[in-house]
């Protein structure tokens, strides 16, 4: 589904990613771990099509098509979703209205009619109860005055509403208490199926206790230096990243 080949990318002339290779298939959950500044969030942004990041070399393929030149909204229409590390606030725009617009813009791009209000309402009810979201939150301005946990849960809510094929979760666990972590993880598990894929980006192995990945990758200085199964995450939790750094040298 997602294939990244020898990806190099820089921001304002500064190289961040230095030859990333990654392959994610349908039905898989991947975890990407790495210390601060290793390029984790950059990779999420590049996959999503953020224009501040310039691809200098390499390719990103999504569903067998190269997407290097696609805009962020076009990639979203193709089925790529990113849960933001820092979701932005848009005052005066309700959560419901935002999600409705997002769903309908994607449908429009695919040549489909707008979703009927009834269908939309049904879907909102179903998905919000899955994440234990109070309906009052849905009529509030997008992320405005939300607690850290509410923001992250709202990201996952958008994900389950939009039903993307690839979900990239950028540090979704940061700032969550244990209860919220469980709710969010549960949402991701329910979402995950044979037809979609999840890429979890995280510092800590904590979230991976709930969302058990099929593959774990470690990124250091803009490169994936090691891949393995869940046990790799445990090892990092125990020993940190230093042993890996030594191993590469």
């Amino acid at each position: 589904m997602l294939e990244i080949n020898n990806l190099h990318c820089e921001i304002e002339g500064k190289p961040i990613l230095k030859g990333i290779n990654l392959k994610v298939d349908k039905g898989e959950i991947h975890a990407l771990m790495g210390p601060n500044g290793s390029g984790k969030s950059t990779l999420a942004n590049v996959i999503s099509g953020h224009e501040d990041y310039e691809i200098t070399k390499g390719n990103i393929y999504f569903k067998s098509n190269e997407i290097n030149e696609l805009s962020a909204s076009e990639r979203a229409h193709e089925g790529i979703f990113m849960s933001f590390q820092y979701p932005v606030e848009i005052p005066g725009l309700t959560v419901t209205n935002f999600i409705k617009t997002a769903i309908n813009e994607t449908r429009k791009a695919k040549g489909l009619d707008e979703m009927s209000s009834r269908e939309m309402l049904k879907k909102i009810r179903e998905k919000s109860s899955l994440l234990d979201i109070d309906s009052k939150l849905l009529s509030r301005s997008l992320n405005e005055g939300f607690s850290g946990g509410e923001k992250k849960r709202n990201e996952i809510f958008q994900m389950v509403m939009l039903e993307p094929e690839l979900a990239v979760l950028d540090e979704t666990d940061s700032g969550l208490d244990v209860d919220m972590l469980k709710i969010v993880a549960n949402g991701v598990i329910k979402f995950s199926n044979d037809n979609n894929a999840v890429l979890v980006i995280t510092h800590y192995q904590r979230l991976l206790d709930y969302i058990v990945p099929d593959f774990v990758h470690v990124i250091l200085d803009g490169k994936v230096v090691k891949s393995g199964d869940k046990s790799l995450a445990n090892r990092i939790e125990d020993k940190g990243y230093d042993w890996l750094k030594k191993e590469i040298k």
Partner: protein
């Protein structure tokens, strides 16, 4: 395309006035220039009674001795008042009973505006008193209104048919000498609307007037007088668009509202006059005096969406004379390219327990400049007066400016006054967030701007809110949203 600052700028620059066209209507226009003779001639054309002619002449004499004010933050070339024609009327002046009698060119104009009058009449129950180039050419729904004793007609008609009401109220809220432009308007006003709601009557429909400046080089001087008698209610809508033109057009209107005891007036405006091209050439000068007086327990609400005009100078105000009276001001002002707006309100608290609310939203793009200028005045005998003011600005790009000048004069210790102000920008991160959810940049800007304006848009009557949202989008985007 994902958003970058440069692209946003380009988007905004390529926006052209969607309503730029010129309708050929056979008009009769006075030669340019202003003197006593011209004032007499205007009055004569309209067959006005002597007192009206005299009132105009008094105004003209005051105006001659006044100087154009320059205290605002606006920079513009002062109009040459001797280079303007003060009267222009469509020539076909037979009495029109239905829209079939209206000049077909005019109907075309309305269609271009997307406003088919007959459709509006049928669908929304809005009575329109259509004003094109100063003279009212079509009115409707008069019968329904007259059953309730409501008078809704052009001010010229009111001077003929209800002189006692006009004479009693005109100039009582905005005196002839109030300011330079009010004096000019009082001398040469060509037409406008008049509305009287009798005691205890709730006006059953939204009253609406459609203003348009049409003839090249004619200034338009509208005069609106709206009286709500005791215990009555009226909601009045005023919407404007104008065709594109190279030379500046001057517009100096006066609106007077009188809200008697226990009455309520809701006055909503959508203003979309030609703002000039992207290099700042042309565009309407909009110097308006709008003021209302509230008697005991009366309420006046001003709601405005201002997207047009090259220069706007406008402060819809409330004199809260009666005890327990309420004044409200809700405003969205959008400026783009080289537009300038100096707008706000004055809330003059004279009575006890008077309340006022001010919500002002400014959206600036291009190289435009917008100022909020407001006065909250609590007089010595205004016990327990309360005011809440909120002024928010949203900036797009790096070349525009937003300024807030809140004046507060409190002469009574019991007053409670709150003022809040914020300035924010449409961030690239907000745009990217929307893009990532499949919403393109143009739609994203519309969502953000509409969200920012929601508090004020919600105050508009339904059908107007839809039009207003569209206008915001037209004003700020590459194409019509």
């Amino acid at each position: 395309m994902a958003y970058t600052e440069e692209e946003l700028k380009k988007n905004l620059e390529t926006k052209e006035y969607a309503y730029g066209f010129y309708t050929k209507i056979d008009s009769e226009t006075f030669p340019i220039g202003l003197n006593e003779e011209v004032v007499r001639k205007i009055s004569g054309k309209k067959n006005e009674p002597k007192w009206m002619t005299e009132w105009r002449l008094e105004s003209y004499k005051s105006w001659k001795d006044m100087v154009e004010p320059d205290w605002s933050s606006l920079k513009y070339e002062k109009p040459n008042f001797q280079n303007i024609s003060y009267y222009s009327a469509p020539k076909k002046k037979q009495n029109l009973k239905s829209l079939d009698d209206v000049d077909p060119e005019l109907i075309k104009t309305f269609k271009k505006l997307g406003i088919s009058i007959d459709e509006q009449k049928k669908l929304s129950g809005v009575a329109m008193d259509v004003i094109v180039d100063s003279v009212s050419v079509a009115t409707s729904f008069k019968d329904t209104l007259s059953e309730k004793g409501i008078i809704f007609c052009s001010i010229s008609e009111a001077i003929q048919n209800h002189p006692e009401l006009v004479r009693k109220y005109i100039g009582t809220v905005v005196p002839q000498k109030d300011n330079y432009y009010a004096a000019l308007n009082s001398a040469v006003f060509s037409d406008g609307s008049f509305c009287y709601i009798p005691k205890g009557v709730k006006c059953p429909m939204e009253l609406s007037t459609y203003f348009r400046i049409n003839q090249a080089g004619t200034g338009q001087f509208e005069r609106t007088l709206l009286i709500a008698d005791k215990g009555s209610y009226v909601s009045y809508l005023e919407g404007c668009t104008a065709p594109a033109r190279d030379e500046n057009q001057l517009h100096a209107a006066v609106v007077e509202l009188i809200a008697h005891d226990d009455s309520e007036i809701k006055y909503s405006t959508v203003q979309n006059w030609y703002p000039g091209d992207k290099k700042g050439r042309g565009g309407v000068y909009n110097f308006v005096t709008k003021r209302g007086i509230c008697h005991d327990r009366a309420k006046i609400s001003w709601t405005q969406v201002e997207t047009g005009s090259a220069v706007t100078w406008k402060y819809p105000s409330c004199i809260l004379k009666g005890n327990d009276s309420i004044g409200e001001f809700y405003s969205i002002a959008v400026t783009n390219n080289f537009q300038q707006a100096d707008t706000g309100t004055k809330m003059i608290h004279l009575g006890k327990n008077t309340k006022s609310t001010i919500i002002s939203k400014g959206i600036c793009a291009g190289k435009s400049q917008a100022s909020y200028r407001g006065l909250v005045k609590i007089s010595p005998r205004a016990e327990n007066a309360r005011n809440f003011s909120q002024c928010d600005s949203l900036l797009m790009g790096n070349n525009c400016g937003s300024h807030t000048y809140p004046y507060i004069e409190a002469q009574n210790k019991t007053a409670q006054i709150e003022h809040e102000a914020t300035t924010s920008r449409i961030g690239e991160d907000q745009i990217f967030y929307c893009n990532q959810r499949g919403i393109d940049t143009e739609r994203a800007i519309a969502l953000i701007v509409n969200g920012f304006s929601a508090e004020v848009l919600n105050k508009l009557p339904m059908e107007f809110a839809v039009e207003a949202k569209k206008l915001l989008e037209i004003s700020l985007e590459g194409s019509v949203g």
